[in-house]
Amino acid sequence: MMTTFAYVVAYLGLVFFLIACIARFMMWSKMPMHVRWELYPVAHEGGGKAAYGGSYLEDTEWWTKKREVSLFGELKVMVPEILFLVALREHNKKLWTRSFPFHFGLYLVGGVTALMLAGGLVVGYLPENIAAPVAKIVNLVAPFLGGAGLVLGIIGAIGLFMRRRSRALRDYTAPADLFNLVFFIAAFGVSLVSLVVYDRDFSMVTTFITNLVTFDLAPVGAGPAGLLLTLSVVLLALLTAYIPTTHMSHFIGKYFAYHSIRWSDEPNLAGGRQEGTIQELLSRPVTWSAPHIGADGKKSWLDVTLEDQTK
């Protein structure tokens, strides 16, 4: 009964996570075009410009030339940034020593979970001769990486909790910020205890995940071992569902912060595809109330822009 409950919560948590992430992604991607607000260096600038922060605006008659946009340049910045939090390491070492283990722990836990989900699919749906070696690899890797991820995540979360309670950050910390970290510590802590005490070879959790992807809701573990597994699954599932509803969804927002704002330097060329969108935006009504704007809720941006200001 308890394990069935864990399956249900796990399904709901994963589905909610996916829906919430997609909704977040859609929210950011559907936002209207904004004025350019890029910040250099822009990683995709080609011709060696990204290295010193240069842009195509340095080129003679730049509008007559094809822009050099380097995807490799972006990856060169983004991959280390995502994996190692390079900007934080460079500008805030004190926080990095806490934030890096936290994030890297998360990546390991997330990665191992994905590995076990994939392994579960292989074991559940593919022939034995393929499934057996895959299961062996998962069984070999998961305990080590999963355990390391949980430990790093807990150490990082405790460090971040203490940093948020420090004199410097205390005043800028809302109760929810502390709750988020406690939630991580609790979910990861219960999982770690469950694994260390009852499931050192990850056999219970692997079986649970295989059952999850094969829709076999068979009980896993009995007595305190089953209870602890259930508690850990429920906490992790709730945490998974909770993350995208909070500012911790910055893992989605950050993509847009970089690609749609900080590095968004695509020029609006005469007769190009952006002009129609801009004209539509300029036709939108303005309701700003200051007298010098001259808005009445009906006049558009274009109307108020073109009004005679010489009197």
């Binding site: 950011w28 936002m31 209207p32 075009m33 904004h34 004025v35 607000w37 890029e38 910040l39 250099y40 260096p41 010193y52 922060g53 240069g54 842009s55 195509y56 605006l57 340095e58 003679t60 008659e61 730049w62 509008w63 900007a87 934080l88 500008h91 805030n92 926080l95 950050l169 005043d171 800028y172 809302a174 929810a176 910020d177 500012h247 927002g253 950050k254 847009f256 912060a257 970089y258 609006n268 060329l269 005469a270 002009e275 801009i278 935006l281 300029l282 939108r284 009504p285 303005v286 309701t287 700003w288 109330s289 200051a290 007298p291 010098h292 704007i293 941006w301 822009t305 200001q309 010489t310």
Partner: protein, 534 residues
């Protein structure tokens, strides 16, 4: 040092300053200005000003009169909340909606940006000037009073007229240099939030510092220039500049006006025409020597590249940008070239990029690029030895960090300054520090604001300048040149040099980039840079 203990202090102790700087506790400057007790006295705000206007700290930028009735208090609070709501509306704020929401939602309040802010650093890390301090107040007001969210989610704050008025005043303690945003691991932009607070004040409440609105964009739109110059006066002034330049260079020039079909419409910051006539004169000398097809415009606004809206008001910004483009269209030029003015560069090239369409979408180019190409063409005969003095380069934020124009000005300096004479500031390029005059500060001087700006925003730049010249003699007879290819930066650097008396005491002089080119031109009489303090 007096400073707030908490963001919740914003609405407390009405009439009392939340922060005060003790000048004797500031970090000393490098030699020969390292004796802090020999620095000028920080002028104090008058009692009358403290009585009349909302008080935030040691100075006043915006002049928000204290409300006299409950109705006036409510008007301030309700106006602010109404404007704040509009910042989240596609209709009213499509211009910045995504960057704004991103910064409102995702700031982790981790203080990574604090070390990057020169104002916070020069204040001795006074909490009031921490980049996230003002944004945190804005966020809390929004989540608590507009979204009606529980304070346990986003933090608590009381809202009263004092909070609103002080927050608006505090938005004018940021240079909008966006150094903070550059260091943010998540991509939040606390400088943008300062600008959005200014927008609420201007676009919803009609509250703006007089220098940038009434005497700035409004005057420019009404008569043609924030300097007050009408088309007739501009033509007279340029005629005078042509004569003066000819006398200094030995080359007769006649600046073309309103030449239909010219390749280039050159738009200066009109402040150059008034305060630094050698700059437009030098441009004319170089452009004529290079045989360019170019013109100035005598149409109102067409001769003044400034666009102060870029600091506080999207509609004022759009009005000026569209008029610049319309004038270029009328002249039928192939491109607009922006003179040595950083914010004019960013306004018309980058920000107006998403405003100008159709036949108003005329290409815009930086004069750094035009001048670099002239140098590359080899059409000018140059003698570097004429610039045989130490030179350092100030990177205007708008040109460099916000547009990525970094190398052309350095290539020019390489071509006109002898080897070993140029030294970079540290840091430089896209990591530069603001001159201290950014976001309108260079032209704001009410009450004791000028003093505040020198002690708080310009001090980091002065420190950089002094450090750049530390391997040189600081004897005043050994002249050193700070090259600032931006009108507002130049004004600010002039003001810092004046404040610390650095020309008289250390021989530190300043000027633009094009002046260095003309000073090196073989065909020009030697001594275009005259080393006279004007």
């Amino acid at each position: 040092m007096k400073q707030p203990n908490s963001v919740k202090d914003m609405g407390k102790n009405p009439g009392e300053p939340l922060a005060q700087i003790n000048q004797y506790e500031q970090i000393p400057l490098p030699p020969p200005f390292d004796k802090i007790d020999e620095e000028p006295e920080f002028a104090q705000l008058s009692d009358a000003a403290r009585e009349k206007y909302v008080v935030l700290d040691d100075t006043i930028a915006v002049n928000i009169e204290k409300p006299k009735t409950k109705e006036e208090e409510d008007k301030l609070v309700n106006g602010f909340l109404s404007g704040l709501e509009k910042l989240f509306s596609v209709d009213d704020n499509w211009t910045f909606l995504q960057p704004f929401e991103m910064s409102m939602e995702h700031c982790a309040k981790c203080h990574t940006c604090s070390d990057a802010c020169p104002i916070f650093q020069e204040s001795g890390e006074n909490e009031l000037y921490r980049p996230v301090y003002r944004s945190e107040i804005l966020r809390r007001i929004y989540f608590k009073y507009v979204k009606k969210a529980s304070p346990s989610l986003h933090g608590d704050i009381d809202l009263n007229w004092e909070t609103v008025a002080r927050l608006i005043e505090l938005s004018y303690r940021c240079n909008l240099c966006r150094r903070c945003a550059q260091t943010c691991p998540i991509g939040a932009d606390n400088a943008l939030l300062s600008r959005e607070i200014r927008k609420i004040a201007s676009m919803e409440m009609g509250i703006v510092p007089k220098e940038i609105h009434d005497d700035g964009s409004v005057l420019q739109l009404r008569v043609g220039s924030s300097t007050g110059m009408t088309p007739m006066i501009v033509k007279d002034n340029i005629e005078f500049i042509d004569e003066d330049t000819a006398e200094r260079t030995g080359i007769t020039i006649e600046t073309p006006f309103d030449k239909v079909g010219a390749d280039i419409l050159l738009i200066h910051n009109a402040g150059e025409i008034m305060a630094w006539p050698e700059n437009p004169g030098a441009f004319a000398t170089v452009f004529e020597a290079a045989g360019l097809s170019w013109t100035l415009s005598s149409d109102a606004i067409g001769y003044d590249g400034i666009n102060y809206g870029v600091w506080y008001d999207d509609v004022q910004f759009a009005r000026v940008a569209v008029r610049h483009a319309a004038i270029a269209k009328k002249l039928g030029v192939r491109k607009i070239v922006l003179g040595e003015c950083g914010h004019a560069h960013k306004a018309l090239t980058v920000i107006a990029d998403k405003v100008l369409t159709g036949d108003l979408n005329i290409p815009r180019e930086s004069s750094m690029v035009t001048l670099r190409d002239i140098i590359r063409s080899g059409v000018l005969k140059l003698d570097k030895s004429r610039n045989d003095f130490p030179v350092t380069l100030h990177d205007p934020c708008n040109l460099v960090r916000l547009m990525g124009i970094v190398s052309p000005q350095r290539e020019i300096i390489d071509a006109v300054v002898p080897e070993g004479r140029f030294r970079e500031m540290a840091p430089h390029g896209v990591e530069n520090y603001c001159c201290g005059g950014g976001s309108g500060f260079a032209i704001m001087s009410g009450h004791n604001f000028k003093d505040w700006r020198h002690r708080m925003t310009g001090r980091r730049k002065f420190r950089q300048i002094l450090n750049a010249f530390q391997d040189e003699s600081m004897d005043p007879s050994h002249m050193k040149y700070v090259c600032a290819p931006c009108s507002n930066c130049k004004g600010q650097i002039r003001d810092i040099i004046t404040y610390y008396d650095a020309f008289e005491k250390a021989g530190i002089y300043y000027g633009g980039l094009v002046e260095l080119i003309v000073n090196a031109m073989v065909d020009v009489k030697p001594g275009f840079i005259d080393w006279e303090w004007h």
